[in-house]
Symmetry: C2
Subunit: 345 residues, 2 copies
C-alpha cells in the first residue's frame, strides 16, 4: 500500500521506474558544461520553425519522440501525458504534443512544472492507473523573454541577479512495477517518493531576482521532505534544486541553516550546473522548466544509472508571476515540488 | 483494485465521495436562470478588489472557504489542491489559494480544467494518496476579455457565435472511502470513473467560435467513454458538456450521430443553462472554467443529491489557444475531460 506520510509526502511501496529520458537543448546550452550530454541540440534556436513558440513546441515533440524511442515503446503504449511550459495557456505543450494523441493533463507550476509532472506521473503509475505514463516540460529563452520581460529586439540590459531561461525540453517515460521484467530496456532509476509543494510568499517583488522569490519555497519543501521521511540531509547524495541560481542558492542554504539543516555540501542547482556563468554571461544561472528537465535527463539520471549516485532529492523551483500580476504590483510567490529518485537495485 | 479500462478511462472500485461543493458567481450570472442556486453572488464583479485578476482570485478563495465550511473540515485536512484558471501563468489560482497553505498542483486545460481537476483529485483520493483533496477552478468575464480578446473599455462588438465568459468559481471537496461513516456531513455524490481527454484539432481558426473548436474533442471524449465503459448514451441520465454553447451543441450532436450515438435527448450544456440567452444577450452561451464548475455545484450536484439524477457524464470542454498562438495564425485545438458522477446509494 502506498503511504501518506507526514505533512503531504507520499512514499511509494511500488516505486515506478524511470524507463527512459531524453533532452533536447538549444545552441547556448550546447556550448555549456553539459553540451556533450544532451541527446539533441539545435544548430540555431528556431528548430526549423517560424516562431519562437513553435520552436518550443518542436522541442517538446522531439524530446518525447526520443524518450519513446529509448524506451522502445510506441505512443499508444503511454496511457497518460503530464506536461507543461511557461507560456500563457501552455501553448508550447498543446501544440507540441497534440500529434501523439495521448490523453493529456496540462500542468502549470512555473519552473517547478518538471517536478509536478514527474510527481503526478509517478503517482498515476504507482496507483496502477497506467502501466506507462510520460512527463514532458520545456522552456525557450526567446519565447520566455517575449512572454515575461521584453522581446529580444529591444536589446534590454539585465541585472546580475537575473537568470537566463534555458532553451530545452526534457521528457521522461515512467513504468509501473507491473511491467518489471517485461521492459525491453533496463530502467534508469526509480521514483520512490514525492513531496508536493505549497505556495510560499515572502513578498519579493523583483521579477529580475527569481532566485530570492523561489528560495523560501525550496526551503519549506526540503524541510518538509526531511521531516516527512524522517531523514537527515546526508541521507541524500545530492539535494538538487531547479533554478535558484547562485543568488538563490545562498539564500536557500542560509534559510535551511536557520531551521537546523546544513545542506551546503550536498546542494546543487541545475541552473548553476547548466552554464559556465563567467564564460557565457548568464547572470545568476539558468532557469525555466526546461532547465531542471534537461539537467535531470542529461546529467543526474546518468549518474543514478551508473550508481555513482544512490539517492537524490530533486526539487524544481517555480516563481509564480505573470506579466499582468507583476505590472499590477503583486509579489512573486514561489513553489517547489520534491521528487525522491533512487538508483535501481 | 482500480481498473484501467479501454483507451484511457479509469473505473474506481473505491469511488471517492464529493463531500461538498460551493459556487460563487458574478452579477450577470445571478440574474440568470441559476441565480438563486449559487452560494454567493457579488454585488458587482470586483469582489472588493482593485483589479479584475484580484477579483478572480477572490472568487477562488471564497469558493474554497465555503466548500470547506460545508464539508465541516479545516484547510489542514485537505491534503492536496488541484486548481486552475484561464489566465496566463494561472495567477488567479496562485494568488487566490496561497493563503490556504495546502500542497497545490496547478493545472491548465482551458475551460476543461474543472474536469481535469476533479479527475486528478478523484484519482488521488481513490488511490489512497489523500483522505481529502479539493478541486477549484474559476473564470472572470473581465479578466478573460482582457487576456484573450480586448479590454472592456474598447467596447468591441461580438459575433453571435461568441460565448460569454462566466464570472464564477466552483470548489469541490472529495473524500476517500476510508472516511466513509466518519464524515461529518452526508456526501453529495460519488465519482465512479474518469476519461481523461486528448487534444483534438479540426483546424478551426476562429477565436470567436469556440463551440466549433471544442465540439470535436467533446465528441471524441464521449465516444471513448461509452466504448471504454461499455455503455449506451441512455446509461447516463444526462451527458453534460461544459461550454459548447448552442453553436457547439449542434455540431456535437451531429458528430456523435455520425459515430452511431444519438445523445440529442440527453445532452445539456452548462454554457446554455447558465444564462437566459435572449434576455441576457450572451451570444452562443456561457464559457470559461468557472462556467462548468458553478453549474455542476449549483445545479447538477443538487439533482444528484436528491437522486433526481442517478448518473451523469460531466464533460468540461476547453479551447487551447492563447493570444499569441491566435495572432501567429495557429488553429484552436480542443480538449475535454470526462467525469462520471453518480448519486450515493
Amino acid at each position: 500500500m502506498d503511504q501518506q506520510i507526514g505533512s503531504g509526502s507520499l512514499c511509494f511501496s511500488e516505486a515506478p521506474f524511470i524507463v527512459s529520458s531524453a533532452s533536447v537543448a538549444g545552441k547556448k546550452e550546447s556550448e555549456g558544461p553539459l553540451g556533450s550530454c544532451f541527446d539533441m541540440v539545435g544548430a540555431d534556436d528556431k528548430f526549423g520553425q517560424d516562431t519562437w513558440e513553435a520552436a518550443e513546441s518542436s522541442l517538446q515533440k522531439e524530446a518525447l519522440t526520443l524518450a519513446l524511442g529509448k524506451a522502445k515503446c510506441r505512443a499508444e503504449e503511454i496511457r497518460f501525458l503530464f506536461a507543461g511550459d511557461l507560456l500563457g495557456q501552455n501553448i508550447a505543450s498543446s501544440f507540441g504534443l497534440k500529434s501523439f494523441e495521448i490523453p493529456l493533463f496540462g500542468l502549470y507550476g512555473a519552473c517547478s512544472t518538471c517536478g509536478e509532472a514527474l510527481s503526478l506521473a509517478a503517482m498515476c503509475v504507482a496507483a496502477g492507473y497506467a502501466d506507462r505514463a510520460a512527463a514532458v516540460t520545456s522552456s525557450h529563452f526567446a519565447s520566455a523573454e517575449k512572454q515575461f520581460r521584453f522581446p529580444l529586439e529591444y536589446a534590454n540590459q539585465r541585472p546580475v541577479s537575473a537568470t537566463w531561461t534555458v532553451t530545452g525540453s526534457g521528457a521522461f517515460v515512467l513504468a509501473g512495477k507491473s511491467l518489471e521484467g517485461e521492459l525491453p530496456v533496463k530502467p534508469l532509476a526509480r521514483i520512490t517518493g514525492v513531496t508536493p509543494g505549497k505556495i510560499v510568499d515572502y513578498g519579493v517583488k523583483d521579477s529580475m531576482n527569481m532566485g530570492a522569490a523561489m528560495a523560501p519555497a525550496a526551503c519549506d519543501l526540503i524541510a518538509r521532505n526531511l521531516q516527512d521521511f524522517g531523514r537527515k540531509p546526508e541521507d541524500y547524495d545530492r539535494i538538487v534544486t531547479g533554478d535558484l541560481g547562485s543568488v538563490g542558492q545562498e539564500i536557500l542554504i542560509r534559510l535551511l541553516k536557520e531551521k537546523g539543516y546544513d545542506i551546503s555540501r550536498l546542494h546543487e542547482d541545475c541552473g548553476i550546473r547548466i552554464y559556465d556563468k563567467k564564460a557565457q554571461g548568464t547572470g545568476s544561472g539558468g532557469s525555466g522548466c526546461g532547465c531542471s528537465a534537461v539537467t535531470l535527463s542529461a546529467y543526474y539520471l546518468k549518474l543514478l544509472e551508473k550508481k555513482e549516485l544512490r539517492r537524490i532529492l530533486f526539487v524544481p523551483t517555480g516563481a509564480l508571476l505573470s506579466p499582468i500580476s507583476f505590472n499590477e504590483g503583486q509579489s512573486v510567490p514561489g513553489i517547489a515540488h520534491g521528487v525522491v529518485i533512487e538508483a535501481c537495485e
